[in-house]
Structure formats: structure tokens, C-alpha cells
């Protein structure tokens, strides 16, 4: 039973009428994340879709104070907030960085690795929409194999997605978790838990993107759920090195029923040029990752 099933706050901290796209996976996730985080929290966000969601000066759609920072600097910006708050005696505030996959896997990785290695006391949340979606769907290192993007327009992406979670695991963090907008209570629980923990906490949200992935905006939750059911994306937590599945991934692990990845791929235009070899390679990758996770879960 999720910890906060009946406790999710009714109050909204991400207001409606914001500038996110219709069906935005990030906004579904952000709504619950802000509900979990809102008390005594300062956000810092880089140039990304989230900057757009937060709104144009002088209005904002988010009821949590936020410091915008440059693309490469998110985790360092959080580290500066933590240091500045500590230096001025404001130690009861949670600092939360929220960046896209570009700002996490790619241009932001140096500052993130630095802050994580130093054990900076903050939450870093990556909303992974698997590409540079704010600039119009260019490939990132988080883009999966076989995806069409505007910078892989003919040949599709020829490399597998980077395993950012493994990179973060190598930093020996007290808390790592994956979340999905299709499982909002699981997401909420994880942000509530992360807020309580001290040290660098890393959360990764799979954020389906209708215009970037090529599916109707109404299907965001469906796509996010398929990602979990095919094992393309897996819901888990790693607490002080101890791995366990959560939510839907937990039941899949217990009952051993995973759908083939093609069920997920066929729903999205970005995979329409994927070759059979690529599909096979992706299935193999997903299978081996799943086995790796199962081994970890068994301890």
C-alpha cells in the first residue's frame, strides 16, 4: 500500500493555465512533486521545458520560490543555495533542482556529479523526456535507440540510452528513485520520502512528451504505463544501496509478466523507422537490465 494514498494534498502548487504543452508528462509529474515538496522548499531550474511551464515574467504558475539558472549549472546552483542558506542560518529549507535529460545526462552532468560527490544536501530530480524537447526534439544521450529526432532525422538514433541511474548509483547516494506520471501516488511517496532524507537524493521521472514522441496528448498516461509494463522504464528505489522494486514494477517482478517492447514502440511515431535489428537490440537491452534489477532486488 502506498504510504500516502489518502494523504495527497488537495492544494495545487502548479497552477492550471500554464504554458506546458497539452498532455505534457512533465506537468502531470510536477503537479504531484510540488504537492509533496511545497513546504519550506526552494527550487532551482535550468533552461528547459520547465522554464516555460513556470511562466513569463512577471507572472508564474508555480507556488514555490524558484531560482532560474543556466543550462549547465543546475546542481551547482542548488549547491550555492544550500551553502548560502547554511551561511545565513536558514537550515530548515529543502533545495530541489529540477532539470530535463539534457540538463542532467548531458550539459548538466559535470555539476551534478560534483554536487553528488560532495554529498550536497539537496534533491535533484531529472524529468526525462528523452531528448531536447524545449528546442524542438533533438537527440540527447537519453534518447533511446531507434528514435527519430530532428538531429537523427533519417537514420534514427544509433546508440542506446545512457544509463544515468547507474552513474548516479556510482556516487553512493542515500536515495535514488525512479518515478512515472502514470503512477502518481508512487511518485508522491518518493518525493515525500526524498524530502525527509539528508544528502544528495536523485529522482528520475520518465516524462512522455506528445509532440516529441509522436502520440496523441490524451495518451500520455497510457504511454507511461506501457513503458513500465514493457520494462522500458522500471519503478524502483535504492535506499543506502538497497534496491527494491515499487508499485507496478513490483507486481511485474512478482508475477513475471512483462509485455514485449514493441507494444510500447508501435504507439509512437518516433519509432516508426526502427529496424527489426534495433527492436531486437532494444528488447535484449531491456531484458538484461531487468535481470540486473531482479538480481539487485534479491540482494
Amino acid at each position: 500500500m502506498p504510504e500516502n494514498l489518502f494523504k495527497v494534498k488537495k492544494e495545487e502548487y502548479m497552477l492550471p493555465g500554464n504554458r506546458a504543452c497539452q498532455g505534457c508528462g512533465l506537468s502531470l509529474a510536477y503537479r504531484y512533486a510540488t504537492k509533496a515538496l511545497h513546504q519550506k522548499t526552494i527550487l532551482t531550474i535550468p533552461a528547459s521545458c520547465l522554464t516555460v511551464l513556470h511562466g513569463l515574467y512577471p507572472t508564474t504558475s508555480v507556488m514555490i520560490p524558484c531560482l532560474n539558472c543556466t543550462f549547465a549549472s543546475t546542481a551547482a546552483s542548488a549547491a550555492g543555495l544550500v551553502a548560502g542558506l547554511a551561511a545565513t542560518g536558514q537550515t530548515d529549507t529543502t533545495v530541489v533542482a529540477f532539470a530535463g535529460d539534457g540538463g542532467t545526462y548531458d550539459i548538466g552532468i559535470q555539476a551534478l556529479s560534483g554536487a553528488a560527490e560532495r554529498g550536497t544536501d539537496f534533491i535533484f530530480a531529472c524529468y526525462d523526456n528523452e531528448g531536447y524537447m524545449n528546442t524542438g526534439t533533438q537527440r540527447s544521450s537519453a534518447t533511446p535507440l531507434g528514435a527519430l529526432t530532428t538531429t537523427t532525422p533519417i537514420l534514427t538514433k544509433v546508440q542506446h540510452k545512457k544509463d544515468m541511474l547507474k552513474i548516479m548509483e556510482a556516487h553512493h547516494l542515500p536515495y535514488i528513485a525512479t518515478t512515472s506520471p502514470a503512477y502518481p501516488i508512487d511518485l508522491y511517496d518518493k518525493f515525500v520520502k526524498a524530502k525527509r532524507i539528508v544528502g544528495t537524493r536523485y529522482l528520475q521521472i520518465q516524462a512522455p512528451c506528445p509532440p516529441g514522441w509522436g502520440y496523441p496528448p490524451r495518451d500520455t498516461v497510457k504511454i507511461a504505463r506501457l513503458a513500465i509494463e514493457t520494462g522500458i522504464f522500471v519503478l524502483f528505489e535504492i535506499e543506502d544501496g538497497k534496491f527494491h522494486f515499487t508499485s507496478r514494477s513490483k507486481t511485474i517482478a512478482q508475477r513475471g509478466r512483462r509485455l514485449p517492447v514493441v507494444n510500447y514502440l508501435e504507439k509512437q511515431e518516433r519509432f516508426q523507422k526502427m529496424s527489426m535489428d534495433q527492436i531486437e537490440s532494444l528488447q535484449k537491452m531491456v531484458d538484461s537490465k531487468w535481470q540486473e534489477y531482479q538480481k539487485k532486488a534479491e540482494g
Binding site: T70, S77, A79, A86, A87
Partner: protein
């Protein structure tokens, strides 16, 4: 009473940061700045300075940490050199655009490629248009005094200040420095108050996306647009002149050391030939002036202490009686001339001053600049200036061409 201690320029900078009771330090080692970060680590780990020291993984992050820390009300300090400064470039704009009173020492060093660890001022000159106030020091005493004044200026103007001093020439050279007493510095600097409070009790979205047009807030009030914010930064730097002069005057009163002007001068009262420059090269020029005077040439020095905001009126006044002007500098704006030379010429445009002016680019990548060489270069320029077509010229001193 202050105590006089023999120290390097880098120790002077770190000592000044300690005296200013900086609350957050974020720095990354780079030659020749490294010992500033090491000395500050000593202060912090020994408990002498109760500050948060963030040992960042890059200069980009160093400036970022200063930006965020300053945003929530902490007095922030960093220092760097050369490529470290260039790596911060994006964040220098962000700091100034955010109107944060960060103080940074730039220990001037040449810029690659090819590599050079030695001194020139190409690094800070390359950051001229980032919205930072730039102050240049000519000796270690000026370093300690300028850093202290820099916080007062920065926190009044709400603009960051770069305190520039020459790598090795000052950073690693021991000189006697009168160290001000802590209570004197405390009385000189008021506690830092951020212009905007970012706290969970005050929901704000700082530095969001701006459109080109003015937009109303939720109360219907038409707010500044991007361009108005740029104008206000420009206005702040223009007004900073008064603040710098006032900060210098007050500091002079407390210490007896003269910082009342944005320029300093040597033997300029009856001078016909004015040598000008920033940092240690201007200091070296004073020795050259002694030599020129021995040879019967009435030369003097006008040193530029404040480069941004540029002391336009003061330069016009100081160079007003010159029959010839020599601008010495350790930088080059490729495809034109030295940056300081252009700025001085621009300040003189439209005035009655029409003295011949030569630009001497010297000491790039640490090439030694001897007073005797300056002296000879000036003599050569004076001879050349007699010809109409050689009234304005750039020479590269002691460089195989």
C-alpha cells in the same frame, strides 16, 4: 592600528576576503590564483573564518555557487585566472544580470592557445562587457585595500566587482602590506542585504523568461521588460563612479592611504608626456618616467584604477595638458588595437585634446617589461609622432616581428 606584514598578492587577497567576513567561498584551483583558494581553505578549516567553502568541480560551478549563495543573502567570494575566468563567462553575465554583489579576484594571466601560465591582462579584458565593475591593482597593498572597498561598492550598486591583479608579478611577489584591523573593516562594511528575498515565505520566480514587450503582473502593474533591466544595469554602472569615489574617500579617511580618485598619478603636474596603463605595468612606468626625466623629458604617469565604469571625465582631465600620450597595456583586441587604448581615444573624442597617441602592447604571456624598455619605446614614439602619419600607432614592445 594596522599591522604591516610581508606577504604575496594572493595572501593579501585571501586576507581581505577573511577581513570582509565572506560567508560563502567557491573556488577552483588555477595557476597563478591557486594559493588564494588554499589560503582560504586554511582559514575555513582552522575555524578562523566561519564560512561555507564549496570545493567545486569547475569555475563554471564556482561562479554558480556564488550566484545562488548571494541570491539568498550570503556574502560570496571567489577568485580565478585566465581559462578559469573564460570558463565562467556565461555565469559572469548571469551574476551581473542578477544584480548580485559578488566579489572576485582575477589574477591576470594570458589565454591559450598556446598555453601560457604567465601574466598579461587578456583574460579580464575579454570579460569587459559582462556587466562587472573592474578594478585594477598595482601592488599588494592595493589588492587588500581594493577587495575591501569592492564589497562596499558591490553591495551599494548591486553589481559584481572583479578585482584584477597581475599574476606572478603581484600574486607571487612578497611585499609589505598594512593589514587593516578587523573592527575597522567591520565599521567600513555594512552587512549585506540582498535586493530580493528568495525564501519559502516569499514565492518568486527569479530570472524567468522575458519577452521583448512589457507585461503586467497579476496586480495589473506594467513591469520592466528585458531591455529596461539592461538599461538599469548600465545606469547602475554609470552611477557606480560616485559610489567608487565615495568608497575610496571613506577608506582613505580610515587608513590614510589614498583611494580618493579613480585614477592615480605620478609626476603628472608638469608632465608633457603622459604614460598610462592598468596594474603593474603602470607601476613599472613610474620607474621609466624617472629615467625619462633624467634624460630631460617631462613625463608622468596616469594609472587607471577603475576600468569599468570607465572614468571618462577623469581621463579627459588628466590627459588634458598632455602633448603626447602613451598607452601601455597587456592585452590586444585582435584586428584593432589594445582595448584600453580604444577606450582612452573614445574618451578624448570631441574634446579639445588632440595629442598624438601611441599604444604599446607589452608583456603578453609574461614577457618581461623593463622600465628601461618602456623608456626607450617612449623615446622612439616621441620621435615618430613628429610625422603626421605616425601620430597614432600601435607598437608591440620587445616582440620579434
Amino acid at each position: 592600528m594596522s599591522k604591516t606584514i610581508i606577504m604575496t598578492g594572493n595572501t593579501a587577497a585571501a586576507t581581505a576576503a577573511r577581513l570582509c567576513r565572506v560567508q560563502v567561498i567557491a573556488a577552483y584551483p588555477i595557476t597563478p590564483q591557486t594559493s588564494v583558494t588554499e589560503t582560504l581553505s586554511q582559514y575555513v578549516e582552522s575555524g578562523e573564518l566561519p564560512a561555507q567553502y564549496v570545493r567545486v568541480e569547475s569555475e563554471h560551478s564556482a561562479m554558480t555557487v556564488c550566484i545562488s549563495a548571494s541570491t539568498v543573502g550570503a556574502r560570496a567570494f571567489t577568485s580565478t585566472s585566465s581559462h578559469g575566468l573564460l570558463y565562467m563567462h556565461e555565469q559572469l553575465h548571469w551574476a551581473a544580470g542578477s544584480r548580485l554583489p559578488i566579489v572576485m579576484c582575477c589574477v591576470n594571466r594570458g589565454v591559450g592557445a598556446p598555453w601560457s601560465i604567465f601574466n598579461d591582462q587578456q583574460d579580464s579584458i575579454a570579460q569587459r562587457d559582462t556587466g562587472w565593475i573592474q578594478l585594477y591593482c598595482r601592488n599588494n597593498q592595493e589588492i587588500i585595500d581594493t577587495v575591501i572597498q569592492a564589497y562596499r561598492i558591490a553591495e551599494e550598486v548591486y553589481a559584481p566587482v572583479m578585482v584584477c591583479y597581475d599574476g606572478f608579478v603581484l600574486s607571487h611577489t612578497m611585499m609589505p602590506v598594512a593589514v587593516p584591523q578587523a573592527d575597522m573593516v567591520d565599521s567600513y562594511l555594512s552587512p549585506y542585504r540582498p535586493h530580493t528575498i528568495l525564501s519559502p515565505d516569499n514565492v518568486r520566480n527569479i530570472n524567468p523568461v522575458m519577452f521583448a514587450v512589457l507585461r503586467k503582473n497579476s496586480a495589473g502593474v506594467l513591469c520592466d521588460g528585458y531591455m529596461e533591466m539592461r538599461y538599469k544595469l548600465q545606469e547602475a554602472l554609470e552611477k557606480a563612479r560616485e559610489v567608487i569615489v565615495e568608497a575610496g574617500r571613506k577608506y582613505s579617511e580610515l587608513t590614510g592611504r589614498d583611494y580618493r580618485e579613480m585614477l592615480w598619478s605620478y609626476q603628472d603636474k608638469d608632465a608633457e608626456i603622459i604614460l598610462t596603463g592598468m596594474g603593474s605595468i603602470a607601476s613599472e612606468a613610474t620607474v621609466a618616467v624617472d629615467m625619462l626625466r633624467e634624460a630631460g623629458i617631462k613625463a608622468g604617469v596616469v594609472g587607471i584604477r577603475v576600468y569599468r565604469p570607465f572614468p571618462r571625465a577623469e581621463v579627459q582631465k588628466a590627459l588634458g595638458k598632455a602633448k603626447a600620450i602613451i598607452v601601455l597595456e597587456k592585452d590586444i583586441s585582435y584586428g584593432y588595437e589594445g582595448a584600453l587604448c580604444s577606450d582612452i581615444k573614445a574618451a578624448l573624442y570631441g574634446t579639445a585634446i588632440n595629442a598624438p597617441l601611441h599604444n604599446i602592447v607589452a608583456g603578453l604571456g609574461g614577457r618581461d617589461v623593463k622600465a628601461s624598455e618602456i623608456c626607450e619605446a617612449v623615446k622612439k614614439s616621441l620621435a615618430e609622432m613628429k610625422g603626421q602619419e605616425s601620430r597614432f600607432k600601435t607598437h608591440w614592445l620587445n616582440c620579434r616581428q
